[in-house]
Amino acid sequence: MDKNFAARRRRDLIIAAVLAALAALVPLFVKDVYVQNILILTLMYAALSQSWNILSGYCGQISLGHALYFGIGAYTTELLFTKFGVLPWFGMLAGGMIAAVIAMALGYPFFRLRGHYFVIATIVIAEIGLLLFQNWEWAGAAMGITVPVRGDSWLKFQFLRSKLPYFYFALALCCLAWFVTWWLEDSKWGFWWRAVKDNPEAAESLGVVVFNSKMGAAAVSAFLVAIGGAFYAQFLAYIDPESVMGFQFSLLMALPAVLGGIGTLWGPVLGAAILIPMTELTRSFIGGSGRGVDLIVYGTLIVLISLALPQGLVSLFSRSKAKGATR
């Protein structure tokens, strides 16, 4: 068993490295800006979903309020940049740290809640954040912040002529989130989290400090999501509260992980790779009518996938593997 586990982890790492290398080569062949845009969003959502998966998938604390951390990352970066001239790179780190601190501060009372009460609390806190930002004059209120154009530069992480730098950053972020998950999966924390998810009382009695392990998961998860938010703000060069903190973001972060396989290493990547292009394509090919056909198609697909594969798309792979083993 242990040997298999170690072998699987090594294989996962190799597959990830190959995939990342292949992904890095994609822009050599794909020059179309529209397609590049979809690829960037796919990578970003894969990274976000992977981060969400740490808290909600591995540790089992379903959060539908991660848009809060996403928005904090975006706003910290842009407020520091536009008001104080701090480079986005530092803003990004600051945003991540603030998000992690807030996640722990909120975790203190929140992690005592169970089930629906916890989920609703996470939705509600993100909604409070949204409303506060919409009414915060200094931060642009509902109008948001437009990032001033200063020309292409890595220093300011701003590129007008090409989307490639954004692509590589999104890829790097996705790899980082994947690697953090991979690394944590086999760490003391990873085992604690799974124990907490399966049976918190039993875990506690075996010496797992349930509360601390939830806090750790929340902090890591929030930090990575906030980095994603900072990236998104730089990528769009414009943010407003609804577009970075809206409830739909919390769902869009959770959806790839759920469709791909919640609490699995590959689920979020797989889910994002299928879901995000699907969303964008239905929107642009049949959404133009403005009559909601894209919504009908999109919603139907979500219903069908969640009903057909409750364990996510990843289960397709493991099922075929299990069959191979018995043969």
């Binding site: 005592r112 089930g115 009460y117 609390a121 909604e127 919504l295 009908i296 009903l307």
Partner: protein, 277 residues
């Protein structure tokens, strides 16, 4: 207004609270009920007040059908049951919104004239808008009815038993699907009542449900899952808190008060005010 929130929440209290099935399409049920009421008025000139029972009946069928066609299968999932329910009903909500846009267009509609619309009644020097007043009365009646139904009839007991242990229930000869389909129908029917009354004084558009759905969840959770009386109390508290926040903070922040009170309550009582689960 609190009793109206209660009225919207009562259907959810049944589906989400008593049957423990997450329904993210609750707001969309409300939206459909409002449209049904609107079309009954436009094409057949039936006043929303009269059509309310019709809307409720239509929504009953709709809710039961949704359960039998979709939700039944979502509940079968052995793993991640909660997430499957969340995302199945979330997908359903998107489909319903898309369908509403497709057939009814995204235009804002309203019922221009009705028996109640725009009228006020003066009661001991306080002017109350009639639609809200009727909504409040219907709300009290609906809660009383549901309370009686759950605690005094065989069906209500069957419903709670089915949630607790579907396997044991099957052994004593209760068809789980029939009980839950009826429960979903009833929940949707109550939303139908709410929708018919809301249609009198609120704009009707495909996204209208979203703005009420979250407040409905908070109302149910505030009162505590599994408690009809809790949802009723939750509705009143939410209405009062909203009115008070509106006095102290700018109107755009009025929901903050509701959310803050929810957090405060569950921090002190992690199962809501009257929750049993």
């Amino acid at each position: 207004m609190g009793l109206l929130y209660g009225l919207i929440a009562v259907g959810l209290a049944l589906i989400f609270g008593l049957m423990d099935v997450t329904n993210f399409a609750h707001g969309e049920f409300l939206m459909i009920a409002m449209y049904v009421s609107f079309f009954l008025f436009t094409f057949f000139a039936i006043d929303p007040l009269l059509s309310a029972p019709l809307v409720a009946a239509a929504m009953f069928v709709f809710g039961a059908v949704i359960y039998l066609l979709i939700v039944r299968f979502a509940m079968r999932a052995k793993t991640n049951a909660g997430m499957v329910q969340i995302f199945t009903t979330f997908g359903l909500a998107i489909v319903l919104r898309g369908l509403a846009q497709f057939f009814f267009t995204p235009d804002y509609r309203s019922i221009p004239q009705s028996w109640l619309g725009g009228k006020t009644i003066s009661f001991a020097g306080i002017f109350l808008p009639e639609p809200q007043l009727v909504g409040a009365l219907v709300s009290i009646a609906a809660f009383a009815g549901l309370y009686f139904f759950i605690h005094r009839t065989d069906f209500g007991r069957a419903l709670e038993a089915t949630r607790e242990d579907p396997g044991a229930v099957a052994l004593v000869g209760i068809d789980k699907n029939r009980v839950f389909a009826f429960g979903w129908g009833l929940g949707a029917g109550l939303v139908g009542l709410a929708g018919a009354i809301m249609a009198v004084f609120f704009y009707i558009y495909p996204d209208v449900g979203a703005s009420f759905a979250l407040i409905a969840y908070v109302t149910v959770a505030l009162g505590g899952f599994g408690s009809v009386f809790g949802a009723f109390a939750g509705g009143i508290i939410v209405g009062l808190v909203e009115a008070m926040t509106a006095l102290m903070l700018p109107p755009s922040l009025k929901s903050v008060g509701i959310y803050a009170v929810y957090l405060l309550v569950v921090f002190i009582r992690p199962r809501g005010l009257f929750g049993s689960m």
